[in-house]
Symmetry: none
Subunit: 245 residues, 4 copies
């Protein structure tokens, strides 16, 4: 039941469209990663428009000119940053689901990972939210498409839950997924409001409880109770896991 994690190529193709004066593809990849990392950092902190190319260059410990050998535009920098952020989801969720067989647990894990990936770098997610609009239309569409693809990973979990009889047969899959995703985004967007009151894990637990009431079958409800119990006893492990992420 393990899914194919070979999703890397999609964004690779997009990034490949950005022109570079440097030939060696290894170097291009390494430098771009270095620059993108810095860009995410800087943009997250002070915003895309406030950040200067020099800010990014300094953060990346390279010269301004170097950046322009791997990127055509300042907008390219934003594009690379957003792609990397969205890509992180696509890479992390399959990892989190690895080894988990039970569909309901898979769903819960996926939601939890969504929140945690956000939590790892709240600023980056907020960046994705704030600045997608600053892109050109075609690129904005690329980002939207990536979001949709990521969301599909969650939808697959939901479908499995229905097949397994844990969720109602007439569950509106898309709608449920969307609420789950918004729920996790909310953590990132408004962590200034919630962060002080609860941990991510508590946040996820409560959110799942709220959302699932509407879709759980009686069998599903029983399972959830078991899951919560085992989670409670395995808290140490969970804590460690989320810290490592």
């Amino acid at each position: 039941m393990a899914r194919n994690p070979k999703l890397k190529s999609a964004s690779h193709a997009l990034v490949g469209k950005i022109k570079s004066t440097v030939d060696d593809p290894r170097l291009v990849e390494r430098r771009r990663a270095q620059i993108t990392e810095a860009a995410i950092n800087v943009f997250s902190k002070i915003g895309y428009y406030s950040a200067t190319i020099r800010d990014v260059a300094n953060k990346a410990n390279v010269s301004v000119g170097l950046i322009y050998q791997y990127v055509e535009d300042k907008e390219d920098l934003l594009f690379l940053a957003l792609i990397e952020i969205l890509d992180a989801y696509k890479r992390q969720i399959p990892v989190a689901l690895e080894g988990i067989e039970d569909p309901l647990r898979r769903f819960c894990s996926a939601v939890s990972t969504y929140c945690s990936v956000h939590g790892r770098s709240v600023d980056a997610t907020v960046l994705a939210y704030r600045e997608t609009a600053s892109l050109s239309k075609p690129r904005r569409n690329v980002i939207k498409q990536m979001e949709i693809e990521t969301n599909e990973m969650l939808a697959a979990c939901v479908r499995d839950c229905i097949t397994a009889g844990s969720f109602d047969e007439d569950t509106d899959i898309e709608f449920l997924c969307y609420q789950a995703i918004m729920f996790s985004h909310a953590w990132a967007l408004k962590s200034w409001n919630f962060g002080s009151r609860m941990t991510v894990d508590e946040y996820v637990d409560r959110g799942l409880a709220l959302m699932l009431h509407g879709v759980l079958t009686s069998k599903g409800s029983r399972q959830i109770r078991q899951i919560n119990e085992s989670n409670a006893s395995g808290k140490h492990h969970a804590a460690r896991a989320s810290a490592a992420a």
Copy 2:
């Protein structure tokens, strides 16, 4: 049971801190409204940073210089815009609740209004999301405070529902409110994804159904069924109402 709508003064006090070279307070208010209107319009469309003062001046049919007689900064413009947007919520929700006695209906109406106010000008809400971070820290806090105050109107509805026995006694009020608000924001933020698939009303209905399952008492469940039935028969009215908004 009508709440005090005299909240206007709060933002007024804040706006009052913005210096103007013009003395006549009537004129200041009128001009600021004119300029703010234009600012919301322009910022919503092309973003705060991309918009120039001249853009705003043109939209407002005034000169660039005039703006600087009612505002100190470009940031002031953003601040005024965001305050006006948030203020609209505070003004509209009490109006929507007027005359409704039943707490559960009040709650549903409030959520619906949240979404609809957004819907009236999706761009403006997105603006609030995107650009709050562009403010100076103290002003960002002011905006956050305003959000919290607005949310309190929803919290009051929830408390009434608990008192009336429609919601569980151990409902996490803040958490529920927050999810409801995120739910309505989601409509604005992602209407590009959902707008084509359903109307605001459908969106609200489904969302409430999902969220409330977790908190409704058996009494509450019965009420909801009644509400939905009466809504169904009163669709014309609802349609007209949302069209007028």
Copy 3:
């Protein structure tokens, strides 16, 4: 036999295409003249590419920003400069011919003026020669067209000479005009080589002598001798005239 000097409008129309953020047409005209003057000066001395906008701004005693309110591009500056240079010819030649009736004298005066206008600002002419190629193709064509129009003023003189029987009937008008114009450009282009050896007047006299041998009729030859004699006695006047130009 006086020609219509109302040629100003042609270049005016072209200049009008350049966008300005300033509304008052009087001011635009005055500022553009001021800036163009400075641009000609600076570009002539150090070349279009070596000159910076700041150089031009300093020379014109205005700020850098001001220039960009009257001009879109650095290229606009070059365009304005070249148009002004070519326009000077169109303005000066009719003035020089004013009051002269005899066609042969008119022709000689025209050639002399060509050289003198150059002489007034050799650098400007060299600029026109060097930098026309730096313009975009459509603008390069505009400049070419202006040159052709200017040349036409000389061609008219030649035609009159033929009609009056001073030049051979089978004179190749275009070719003769072109050589005359090249001859005057040569003075500008290579004045570093000739300037030390003779005055403009001497240069023109010799050049005309050389060129006209091929086209003068016997009547024309007689006239030329008279002209040269009267010129010799009227040297003072001529000197003053060329100084005033």
Copy 4:
């Protein structure tokens, strides 16, 4: 009566002043020729300032770094290009005069060659005109000196014509030479205007006719008629010759 063609050394000495990090003189010469060729090509097409070192490197199929091992400056590249262009004249004219004994024919051939060399690469000549001013003063003087030396080859022809009694004894040699040279440059500079109306040969014929009227003795006039007649019958040969050039 053949002149010494050993003029190569002059420019060689100049080029020798340009420092190179490479020792082997053979290699230096070969590489410089390769680079200069590319530079002429690129500069001619898009101008000295618009062209980048990388453009030249690409055209020459070498790396950017390699260029800087044979040249100190971008200006060196221009200098090399201009020297090569002027040198081509010095090399070609003696070749064209080879075997021609009659002084008047030699003069006509020389003028024709001037135009034709230009014609071979109009762009290169225009380059020489436009960009000489972009050089440092000492180097500009070097180029001027080279022009003067080249012109001297024409002057020698004129002197021979005078000695042979074909030209008036009081011919102003320098002035005539200069006009002849300007005449040939004109072809290059304004070929956009003339190129469509006549061939180089026609252009030269007409120009010589015009210029020589003023200096030909009666003997010279007779010779010219003969030359023109023989030219007319030898058109095939001439056509082939100009094609080969």
